[in-house]
């Protein structure tokens, strides 16, 4: 969902804003959560503090002599015999048809459904000069299929794919939408994972083919998770499980005691799917050519990692040499036009980066503390061309699970551009020396885990002055295989151009999904 959209703290292209400006987002997110929680009125854990059962607890702690009648009544509550069983439509002999599935060598799974979103802020254009992003912005039937097969004792394979067709464009003046929008967002058929994995001998595992390698311990922000590009076409709207894009790799894992040594060779050069020009998430009209490196031996990407899982803590070390999935701008030519002046020609390029990083996670009681840090070298920019830059990224976070059926996660990340040059603040680089992001996630389950509330907030900048978003959704499992989800996404404009461009993108969304 949110995670990859924020890869590299997407604000990297944002305009710097007055540091004294204050959007109030920090005061928005937290009250917003609690207001919603109390409006819904379901979290027993919190509200229980106000119930009359407090008195009962005190009584329990001081002895139960006065509760004899209560106990007697409760102890008589067992349902004897098979009558009650039959009333639940369960066979009395206990050997009903409900056996556990046999493991088979081949398995087909997937899901299908309908996803829609409705933009309630944007207005329909008065003429036909611009695309209509008002009202129904998505009406997308989709289908996903995965085939898993075991090949002997130690090998297995997977082939998966996904397809969708968005009917929303046909419901409007389709011709007004840009070619890029229709190509990227109206329909898609995509092979995702295709790999073979197995254990050729002893402690060695190998995985070959299009796959996903997810590094890091954070939920919402990414520091060392650099190998797979992401689907960033709809900021904040993509499902977490669909965010990473599989690419062709060879992965070797070797196990020694509590350690795993991992080597990854990335054969396919593929970058983030970004919002197509002219879409509601990229209203720009200026087309900038993007240079995409060939998938060749020379451009091969590499990754190495050591993972340790110990009693009471986990840690990992990472190194990677790769192309930045988010492009930077390069000025390739400056043309002097009389009466106008110097007009630069831009190109989007991907820097070759080297990353060294570390992660740590430590559980303690109801808390899970986690941290990631990385240094990236080789960053290039348009306005300072005589040197390469490095960046230090740090993330700390905590997950609290001390309330029943509830999880609360806070993550805080900083990207510091080393040896910062003030020129980089100007367009087209629009860099900040320090970029800060904070995310809060609250999840709670109700009705024996058939209903799931998910609240997410992200703010950019120390006080949220650079924008952010808030997403709330409620999912209900109508039955085991079928669920419906509804929610709303609210974008906070802040003071930078990118989030200001999303200001009218607030929308409600709905999804019905059948899994098989």
């Amino acid at each position: 969902m949110i995670m990859t959209e924020f890869q590299s703290f997407k604000i990297s292209k944002f305009e710097r804003v007055d540091p004294d400006s204050f959007s109030g987002l920090v005061f928005f997110i937290i009250p917003y959560f609690f207001v919603l929680i109390f409006v819904l009125g379901i979290p027993d854990v919190i509200l229980a503090q106000e119930t009359s059962e407090d008195d009962g607890l005190e009584a329990v702690l001081s002895g139960f002599d006065d509760e004899g009648s209560d106990e007697d009544e409760a102890l008589s509550g067992f349902d004897e015999g098979s009558t009650e069983l039959l009333s639940w439509d369960v066979d009395a002999d206990g050997e009903r048809k409900s056996g556990v599935d046999d493991e088979s060598w081949s398995n087909l799974s997937g899901n299908t459904g309908l996803s829609l979103s409705y933009s309630y802020v944007k207005e329909k254009p008065v003429d036909k000069t611009g695309a209509d992003w008002s009202g129904m912005t998505k009406l997308r039937p989709y289908f996903s299929l995965t085939w898993d097969a075991k090949l002997g004792e130690n090998w297995k394979t997977r082939i998966s794919g996904k397809a969708f067709y968005d009917l929303a464009y046909g419901m409007k003046d389709r011709e007004i939408f840009s070619e890029e929008v229709l190509n990227e967002l109206e329909k898609e058929v995509e092979l995702r994972e295709i790999y073979l994995e197995g254990s050729p001998f002893g402690s060695l595992d190998i995985k070959l083919g299009k796959q996903i390698v997810a590094w890091g311990v954070a939920n919402s922000l990414r520091v060392v998770d650099v190998l797979n590009p992401t689907d960033s076409r709809e900021f904040g709207m993509t499902d977490l499980e669909d965010v990473r894009l599989p690419i062709a790799m060879t992965k070797l894992d070797y196990y020694i005691g509590d350690l795993k040594l991992e080597a990854v060779v990335v054969h396919e050069i593929k970058f983030n799917k970004s919002a197509p020009i002219g879409s509601d998430f990229n209203p720009s009209t200026q087309r900038i050519n993007e240079v995409i490196q060939e998938s060749s031996t020379e451009n091969t990407e590499y990754g190495l990692a050591v993972f340790g899982s110990f009693s009471g803590w986990d840690a990992s070390l990472h190194w990677a040499q790769y192309f930045d999935d988010t492009p930077h701008i390069k000025i390739t030519k400056v043309t002097i036009i009389p009466g106008i002046g110097a007009v630069p020609t831009f190109e989007q390029r991907h820097s070759r980066l080297t990353m060294g990083g570390v992660t740590l996670s430590i559980p303690s009681g109801n808390f899970l503390w986690k941290a990631e840090a990385a240094k990236l070298q080789g960053m290039e920019f348009a306005l300072v061309t005589d040197k390469l830059f490095s960046r230090t990224d740090v993330l700390v976070g905590s997950e609290y699970s001390g309330w029943s059926d509830t999880s609360l996660t806070l993550e805080f990340g900083v990207q510091h551009l080393n040896d910062f040059d003030i020129k980089l603040e100007e367009s087209p680089d629009s860099q900040l020396e320090d970029r800060i992001a904070t995310t809060v996630s609250f999840m709670q389950d109700y009705i024996n885990q058939t209903m799931h509330l998910n609240l997410f907030g992200m703010m950019i900048g120390k006080n949220g002055q650079d924008g952010g978003l808030n997403r709330m959704s409620l999912e209900y499992d109508v039955m085991d295989a079928f669920s419906v989800t509804g929610g709303a996404m609210l974008y906070q404009p802040g003071g930078n151009d990118y989030f200001q461009s999303l200001n009218e993108n607030d929308r409600i969304f709905f999804e019905a999904r059948y899994s098989f």
Partner: protein
């Protein structure tokens, strides 16, 4: 994401065996035992080792609508450490999710837990945390699935009685602190322990800060490889006499002392490989 509910609700399945199984131990002088002594014997039962089990939970709401969860579990005892590995077989949206637990029999030491989320291709460390949350949406919670720390409770032998023709001890357990009541989710419990084998065959839980009771009722008790195993248990949540929700838990294809269940199985490597 539904996976988060797993994060907040899954608990070691090896511990599950504690609830469901027990070794036949013939008490010598049963009348002389106190409630605490009986519970010590319950906790000390042999629950089997190097086990493989298939489990099914049928969740039934008050309208009679059913949901089914299926799991395959592996368990190993290693000194003061219980290792467990479990994989979800259904429902479809959580299939192949794996959960690895190292449960330490040391006071104050948290369990080590890892969850593998196949949709994210990621293994995640889990805080042992609160034990009052529902286990996979069932009527049981974490604390129902673990052996209680006897030092945290006061046990009172209420009386001797009979359940389904079997002689049992009726014992009341009360948490000594508010914190334990909150963590376990129960303000008190009454359990019925069979006198011939120290297996708990019934229990009533008073849900902390709610006017609800949970009734645990073992419906099938089998002796497998010399170990008593509860192969079917019904857990009903009631408010007064009104049934709110019910869970039928079944275990089948139970095998102990399996050679393939060794320490190598209980690793992140195997967790990520799946079944």
């Amino acid at each position: 994401m539904k996976f988060n509910k797993l994060v907040s609700n899954i608990i070691s399945i090896s511990i599950f065996a504690t609830l469901f199984s027990g070794v036949f131990v013939l008490p010598k002088k049963v009348m002389a035992l106190t409630g605490r002594e009986i519970m010590e014997k319950v906790n000390a039962r042999d629950t089997g080792d190097r086990s493989i089990t298939e489990m099914e939970m049928i969740l039934i709401n008050k309208k009679g609508k059913k949901r089914v969860r299926k799991l395959k579990t592996f368990g190993l005892e290693k000194g003061k450490k219980s290792l467990s590995l479990m994989f979800f077989l259904s429902p479809a949206d959580v299939r192949n999710t794996g959960f690895l637990t190292f449960d330490y029999d040391e006071s104050g030491k948290d369990d080590d837990q890892w969850l593998f989320l196949p949709a994210l291709r990621k293994t995640k460390r889990i805080a042992a945390g609160d034990k009052s949350g529902s286990f996979m949406g069932s009527d049981l919670n974490y604390s129902d699935m673990t052996s209680p720390d006897l030092d945290l409770y006061d046990y009172t032998l209420m009386k001797e009685t009979e359940v389904k023709g079997q002689k049992v001890w009726q014992i009341k357990a009360v948490p000594k602190t508010k914190a334990e009541a909150k963590n376990s989710g129960y303000s008190k419990s009454v359990v019925f322990i069979r006198q011939d084998n120290y297996v708990m065959i019934r229990g009533v839980r008073w849900v902390h800060k709610k006017k609800r009771n949970k009734y645990l009722d073992v419906r099938k008790l089998d002796k497998i490889d010399g170990i008593w195993v509860s192969t079917e248990m019904h857990v009903t949540t009631k408010s007064g006499k009104k049934i709110l929700h019910k869970t039928i838990m079944k275990q089948k294809n139970i095998h102990f002392n399996q050679d393939e269940v060794n320490e190598d199985l209980f690793s992140i490597r195997r967790l990520e490989k799946g079944l």
